[in-house]
């Protein structure tokens, strides 16, 4: 088993050290709860429903990179590809609660669900109002009939953006939750991978692919997708992916969407732009408008080579929240 090289110190310490580095790069806007892998805003907004994000590490800049103005308020960070433990989640909820309660955005994995559930129960026992919305955008992970079995992947970023804005603009917890769920229900994503990343503590690739193979529907932890195939030209690949994504919601002529072409890690921006080119050709053909496009490293899978496509269908309400300017380490948008 070939060990993949990393620029790290002790593999056991990658998460807290990376958090230190993120905090340092935030120039005073973010801070860490001492001794815990919890990142929160330095200057919280009073009386706002707090938005907590988080999950396993290794998806940088998700999650902590999206803490900022009109985005999330805090992130509970687990070890690489492992959900945070309930005590970390509890600490995050407590730190983010300004009296108005806390909304967790949770990627829909067994580990994250379970730990967020336990952490939230602990917070509720301390008198904090806590709710959770599960993100389940990966169309490759289960059929539409079992939508609650679907994994959460890069579409998370859109959900964070809408929830962050809604929590900043709306006072009512029910309303914030409703808007967040509406965003969640309008996001669809799918990824592919051509080579694996490796967990620092393991050192070995999380999966093996042949020299000419591609995994269609790959998840952000290397979970297998719908098919393993021979690599095909980008245009053909994107056409196949878009057919699956568009049919799922379904997205229809006249719809307007936000588009995220997300790097799973090691893919070049050049390739992502080639992918974006084809996506836009297809959307144009289908009569689907694109309101905004993000291209780059948003929800990675360590140094996996591959990408995912996420679409969020907008209505006037979602657009209003999506368009709110944001500032954070990973996303600044005016």
């Amino acid at each position: 088993m070939k060990t993949i090289k990393k620029i790290i110190n002790d593999p056991q310490n990658v998460v807290p050290e990376a958090i230190d580095g993120l905090i340092a790069a935030s120039h005073g806007t973010l801070k860490k709860i001492p001794g815990k892998n919890v990142v929160v805003k330095t200057r919280p907004t009073p009386n706002k429903v707090g938005i907590v994000i988080g999950g396993g590490s290794g998806h940088e800049p998700v999650a902590a990179g999206f803490i900022g103005e009109n985005l999330a308020d805090g992130a509970a960070c687990g070890n690489v590809f492992a959900s945070p433990t309930p005590d970390i989640i509890l600490e995050t909820i407590k730190a983010v609660n300004n009296g108005a309660g806390v909304l967790n955005l949770v990627l829909n994995y067994a580990g994250d669900n379970l730990n967020f559930e336990i952490g939230s129960e602990m917070a509720e026992a301390e008198g904090i109002a806590v709710r959770s919305v599960q993100i389940m955008d990966d169309v490759a992970s289960a059929p539409a009939s079992r939508i609650t079995d679907r994994r959460g992947i890069a579409g998370y970023v859109f959900a964070i953006k809408v929830a962050g804005a809604a929590s900043a603009m709306l006072g009512d917890f029910d309303e914030i939750e409703r808007v967040t769920i509406k965003a969640r229900d309008n996001i669809r994503s799918m990824g592919v991978a051509i080579s694996a990343g490796s967990i620092p503590e393991n050192g070995a690739p999380t999966f093996e692919l042949g020299d000419d193979e591609i995994e269609i529907g790959m998840g952000i932890h290397g979970e297998p997708g719908v098919a393993r195939r021979k690599l095909i030209p980008a245009d053909q690949l994107v056409t196949e992916m878009m057919a699956i994504i568009l049919a799922d919601l379904p997205f229809q002529r006249g719809d307007e969407v936000c588009l995220l072409v997300n790097n799973l890690g090691a893919t070049t921006l050049m390739e992502l732009f080639i992918v974006n080119r084809r996506i836009r050709m297809i959307l144009e053909e289908k009569g689907i408008g694109v309101h905004d496009t993000l291209v780059g490293n948003y929800c990675t899978s360590l140094e996996m080579a591959g990408f995912s496509i996420s679409l969020m269908k907008l209505d006037a309400e979602l657009k209003k929240y999506y368009d709110v300017p944001v500032t954070s380490p990973a996303l600044t948008r005016r």
């Binding site: 959900s83 433990t85 994995y109 580990g111 289960a142």
Partner: protein, 212 residues
């Protein structure tokens, strides 16, 4: 050597032994999770039982439920991932029904497995056949109920064998819970990593008791 029961101190030592052995099983569990999951189960269990060892070592206990609570809390707050919540819940659930007890008997074993199983099912919303650790834990709990009059070592042997058979059966199941579920059919033929851990834990308990 036949022993009817363990003292509090011996029970603590038993969990220390289990912790050592689980840490030593890291590779085996990692490989099992590589095949049908995300490959971190070994890391998680090793991390969890390292925390268990530390917590048990640093504390004095006056009842079984305190020991179980400590084990459960250590697992839950150190592993992360599904197994932290699930195995943590197992011991925390077990603790609830062992309040104030000071000797670990075949009856206590059965109580522990039963109420641990119940707690796991509630927390995990999992049922037998989902290809999880429940498929090893439930047969062990059921078997232990028939062993209340046996020596602890014998009862543990029976429960361990039941867990092993349950774990083996998970090979024939298609995962529906946890990360392995997205594998669907591809998980066929491989045992569930959490079921392997469940069998191993019981097996190491048996080894300790037989060796006392």
């Amino acid at each position: 050597m036949k022993k009817m029961e363990l003292s509090l101190q011996e029970t603590k030592e038993m969990f220390m032994y289990v912790a050592e052995q689980m840490i030593a099983s890291k590779e085996l569990l990692t490989e099992a999770d590589m095949v049908i999951g995300d490959g971190d189960h070994g890391i998680g269990m090793a991390k969890g039982f390292t925390a268990v060892r530390e917590k048990l070592n640093g504390d004095e206990f006056t009842s079984l439920d305190e020991i179980c609570k400590t084990v459960g809390f250590a697992l839950m707050m150190s592993i992360g991932g599904a197994s932290g919540a699930i195995f943590g819940t197992l011991y925390q659930g077990a603790a609830k029904s062992l309040t104030g007890q000071t000797t670990f008997t075949a009856t206590a074993l059965s109580t522990m497995l039963e109420s641990g199983l119940d707690a796991v099912k509630v927390r995990g919303k999992s049922k037998p056949g989902d290809k999880t650790m429940v498929d090893a834990l439930e047969p062990a709990a059921t078997a232990s109920k028939a062993c209340l009059s046996l020596h602890l070592g014998e009862a543990l042997s029976v429960a361990t064998e039941a867990a092993r058979l349950g774990m083996e059966k998970t090979k024939e199941m298609v995962a529906t819970m946890g990360r392995a579920k997205s594998l669907g059919e591809r998980s066929l033929g491989h045992p569930d990593p959490g079921a392997i851990s469940t069998h191993l834990i019981l097996n190491f308990m048996t080894e300790y008791v037989k060796g006392v």
